[in-house]
Amino acid sequence: MSARRTERLLNLVICLLASRSFLTAERIREIVPGYDETPSDEAFKRAFERDKEDLRDLGIPLETGTNSAFDDEPGYRIARGDYALPPLTFEPDEAAAVGLAARMWTTAAMGSAATRALRKLEAAGVELVALPDGLQPRVEATGAAFPALAAAVHEGRLVTFDYRTGAGTGEPARRTVEPWGLVVRRGRWYLVGHDRDRADTRVFRLSRVVGTPRATGPAGAVTRPAGLDLTGAVASYDAAAPGATAVLRVRSGRGLGLRRQATEVATGADGWDTLKLPFGDTERLADQVLPYGADVVVVEPAEAVEVVVGRLRALAAEAAS
């Protein structure tokens, strides 16, 4: 946007905030600089419509009304009480948490929104505290997907986006989803919703959304199911809940990563210990056990032995390239 248009919008905001009465479009055209440059009534109308829309998009509470019952043309004003952020006080530990939170974004759009929010809080009376340099929490970059999906969830609108499946062909596929909520788990963002095409609840990882999701249809069209467990949906998507126990033989002093997750460790006399390890998915158990090579042997269950041996054979049989 040109500096001239920004200037016109800023003057418009100031003018509408300063006025106690409703100002008609015609009056605004006369007094706010910039509109005099519009060459025709039609051009003014278009420019003014666009400006009103921009102000509303920015969250500026533009009121429409008439000053008396005899006015037939509506006017505009901005109520100061609705415009301004009310005075706020934060305790030092709350201010520290907010300051730290504002550092978390790795994408420019969310980062600059967070920065602006902090400056507004300060102007509203919040005293931010100096944070130690050494603390840098981060959330995964999600590009344009995050604000777009958050808005769709909030407005209850159907949303369409291109999605790259983790284990798929790599080509993004168009998905149409009734969005229910966003979940952050282990630094990653997920959307939980009803996938229209697959007619089922689905979890989507935001970093796999390609481009900007588009909200379609009316607001309020999406209803969240009662008793929805957002975090539960994501947890079950991410990893099968441990339901079974594996028995492993682990060379003494080795397999430290597995020992930390074991529910039971029995020390053997032969230089090998026996571990009991809870697991959910057999393939994932194999992923965990395989890196230890000859230091860990799966004893039970038989299907886990089968998977581990099968994968080791596949690797052992690879042709040298």
Binding site: D54, D93, V98, G111, P137, G170, R188, L256, L290, R311
Partner: protein, 321 residues
């Protein structure tokens, strides 16, 4: 809306901030808003010509410079910050919720109180129920808290740390420099006194941590070097490893920093830098059957040998029907 999303909101935040922070050096204002000093000067030039209808000397906002310091007056109409826009409220609220996913990094109570105040100030633009956090920490909160405290207080840490590539626990003293999170894991960057160099530690591998009553002593050049957000900084003499990933192993391209990623008939071909041969062997084993190392040939051969050695522990007919 296009450019207005950033420019007008910044101006509307800039005025109240300068009004409430008079006599601030322009450079500091620029840093606070995360833009260049030149941009702030342009913003101030624009504010200079805006104001109340009439637009005479008494109507326009006044920007007053004292040397390099700036103050504003005659800006009463917009001297209060605009309420948080949806994206601004979202940026703070979502990040605060994400912080809750790493217990120990901040006081959970303070985050909860800050969230309540911000959700109130956001006036229903962001509803907490739509943004959930799965409190599923990968690291014990007390470990994170101990490391955080040592980092902010500048104390030395004694750590028993598991090195997966060698599957062994090592004891070392570390002078903390900073703590960051990435992909849900929490990392400590510090001056490791056992090797006299900067090292990055994943805190879910810290078996024990203890704060020593010794001030941290980090060489200045190391402190500067440590401000790189990557979990792993490849060095020029690290070996370039080529991996063929089947669809089941596509996640590797998301998870590890790759130098190149190419689609291929069966999945992906990626290259990555590795400092430690043992690490590559471990990765190849964990991906047995779903991905293969093709280069360098000696590492591919080492992985095959390790798989054969591991198979030796199973009966010859194990895994077959």
């Amino acid at each position: 809306m296009s450019g207005a999303t950033d420019h007008l909101p910044r101006l509307l935040a800039l005025v109240p901030w300068i009004v409430s922070h008079p006599d601030t050096p322009v450079g500091d204002v620029a840093r606070q808003f995360g833009v260049t000093e030149e941009q702030i000067r342009k913003d101030l030039d624009l504010l200079f010509v805006c104001g109340l209808p009439g637009y005479g000397p008494g109507d326009l906002m006044e920007v007053v410079y004292d040397g390099d310091r700036v103050s504003m007056s005659n800006a009463d109409t917009i001297s209060k910050p605009l309420r948080l826009a949806p994206d601004e409220a979202l940026a703070l609220i979502a990040a605060l919720r994400a912080l809750l996913g790493t217990p120990g990094l901040v006081e959970t109570g303070a985050v909860d109180r800050a969230l309540a105040k911000l959700e109130d100030a956001a006036g229903g633009h962001v509803a907490g129920a739509e943004l959930a956090v799965a409190a599923d920490p990968t690291v014990a909160p007390d470990v994170v808290q101990t490391v955080r405290d040592a980092t902010t207080a500048g104390r030395r840490l004694r750590m028993r740390y598991w090195v997966p590539a060698r599957d062994e626990a090592t004891e070392r003293d570390v002078d903390p420099i900073r703590v960051f999170t990435s992909g849900g894991a929490v990392y400590l960057v510090g001056w490791c006194r056992s090797v006299d160099d900067v090292r990055t530690f994943r805190l879910d591998r810290a078996l024990d941590v203890e704060v020593l009553d010794v001030p941290a002593d980090v060489p200045e050049e190391a402190r500067e070097r440590a401000h790189d957000d990557r979990v792993f900084t490849p060095a020029a003499d690290d070996r370039l490893v080529t991996l063929e990933l089947s669809d089941r192993a596509r996640w590797v391209a998301d998870y590890y920093p790759c130098e190149s990623v190419q689609e291929s008939a069966g999945g992906l071909v990626v290259t990555m830098r590795a400092r430690d041969d043992a690490w590559v062997r471990r990765l190849a084993l964990s991906l047995a059957g779903v991905a293969r190392v093709t280069e360098p040939a000696d590492l591919a051969a080492a992985a095959r040998d390790a798989a054969r050695a591991a198979l030796g522990a199973y009966a010859p007919d194990a895994g077959s029907d």
